[in-house]
Amino acid sequence: MKHSRAGAPPQMFRTDLPLGGSASRFIPWLMAIMVFLVILAISGINVFDSILAGWSRSVTGTVTVQVPPLPASGNTSADRERAERALRALDGLAAVDTARLLEQEELDRLLEPWLGDAAGAADLPLPALIDITLADRSQDAVSEITTAVHTVVPDAIIDDHRRWFDRLIGLTEGFRVLAIGIATVIVAALALTVVYATRASLAEFRTTIDVLHFIGAQDGYIAGQFAKRTFDAALRGAAGGLLLGLAALAAIGWLAGNVESGFLPDVTLGISFWMSVPFVALAAALLAMMTAFFTVLATLRSML
């Protein structure tokens, strides 16, 4: 066999360790699963952010006045007159941009998701609702409205949605923190698994490492060999996990699109999410590489 070095790989891609050792064979699979889960966790974080932003946009700057029906009166015209009295009290207030009394059809539509088509025929003692858009979003504006309405209808309920929204924010924040926690645990699990896989590889390639060591290889050189090898395996797995994650998001999006509107908030994953997803795969591969590098370095330091 005549020797030719024309096909030799460039130095940066060459490794003195055999690729595909049994201990590292599962790294691509592990990476694929980890990246898949991290993408789902990050998309979860983004979904919660998107939901929060949507809710915030829809409720901030609005106030709802509920004028309850008179107890057991059945006198709809008296109830209507109380609502209009409250509406008139809002006229000319600096805090109010617009104020509108919701019609019966609109109330029926609001109840439809719960009561269905029978909502209009239910003849329920519903409060009249006045939808107010604020000109001024301060708490003083809500106080001014409350004072004005209570002057004419003392039992009217002024709802600036803050209490309801604060609870939702708390709940959503909880889910968000949970998603971040899951992502962190996945990353930690990935690092730990790479540590153990690398240690197993160290045992597997002990002869090779000894030879490199005895011919004067610096620790960094040997660790670099492992790091290159791990990065190669990890990147392949991460790319697979990325594709799997994107496919899962597409499937979830398709399923969510089939659900009746009104039950699920309208959620879109922003451009920053889609831009960041490939970096998740790259960052995971880099993390695996760095973990392998420092694991080998620590192990070699225990040798002479």
Partner: protein
């Protein structure tokens, strides 16, 4: 130093072509090494003792000084500690007692970071070759140069020349499993000497080859010795020791004795 390495041209049985540029590429032992004292003894062992766990002393109170350019056989019965002594010299382990000084650096007390530089001055031929099975003959021989950060162009020239020198010009891309024992032996020796070490340690380098190849390999070590390297060859082969007549270091019961070819002990030990 007026080195000559045309020895193979005088050996018809080696069937190698002269490689004049080897004179340039293999100019001086240890060339390129930093912080190495070129005038210091190659090896200084002082009261060296070695013990594995709570077992008996494998080596006990060994003193030895080898000057640069010396050539010694290391002999002794199986289990006498020859491989252990060599392992101390290629810095695979530290002695339990005493100190090991190579090229003027006390390796027992030297910081760990200094050891790779010293190891690069030591070429080791392992008894079992320890070739990396997944690397070609070329890449195995190139390994010491690569870990030293030598440029690929230079590696290509030097390794090709050296493999041609040891008669493996047509087997550079062959993996070790397809090479014969003698060919693997030559790859292992080429790897040990490719970066021109100042100390060559060979553990039974002729143990797996026939007499003709053993003779050739000895000629190779002698030529490298002429180029300035100190050589220690551990062997059981009494015929080889008698045939070449270099001083003998004999290990027995953990003690080391040196015998000159005429039979007299020297003051080094």
């Amino acid at each position: 130093m007026p080195y000559t390495i045309f020895w193979w041209s005088r050996k018809a049985d080696f069937e190698l072509k002269p490689q004049p540029s080897l004179r340039r590429n293999f100019a001086a032992p240890g060339s390129g090494s930093d912080h190495i004292d070129t005038l210091a003894p190659a090896v200084e062992l002082s009261a060296v003792g070695l013990q594995y766990d709570d077992g008996p002393d494998v080596l006990n109170g060994i003193d030895l000084t080898l000057r640069p350019g010396s050539f010694h056989f290391l002999t002794g019965p199986s289990g006498a500690g020859k491989t252990s002594l060599l392992s101390l010299l290629y810095l695979a382990q530290r002695p339990t007692r005493g100190s090991v000084t190579l090229f003027g650096t006390n390796t027992t007390s030297a910081p760990r970071a200094a050891l790779p530089g010293i190891r690069r001055q030591v070429g080791v031929v392992f008894q079992d070759f320890r070739l990396l099975q997944h690397l070609s003959a070329f890449d195995n021989v190139a390994l010491p140069l690569r870990v030293a950060g030598t440029a690929e162009a230079e590696i290509k020239n030097n390794v090709s020349e050296l493999l041609s020198w040891v008669g493996l010009a047509d087997d550079m891309d062959a993996l070790p499993p397809v090479l014969s024992g003698g060919q693997q032996q030559r790859v292992a020796i080429a790897r040990a000497v490719v970066n021109r070490p100042r100390l060559i340690l060979a553990d039974e380098p002729t143990g797996n080859v026939d007499d003709a190849i053993a003779e050739r390999l000895m000629q190779l070590f002698m030529e490298l010795n002429k180029l300035g390297a100190s050589v220690i060859i551990a062997t059981h082969n009494q015929l080889l020791v008698d045939r070449f007549g270099f001083p003998r270091l004999s290990l027995s019961d953990g003690q080391l004795n040196e015998t000159q070819p005429g039979g007299g002990a020297t003051a080094d030990v």
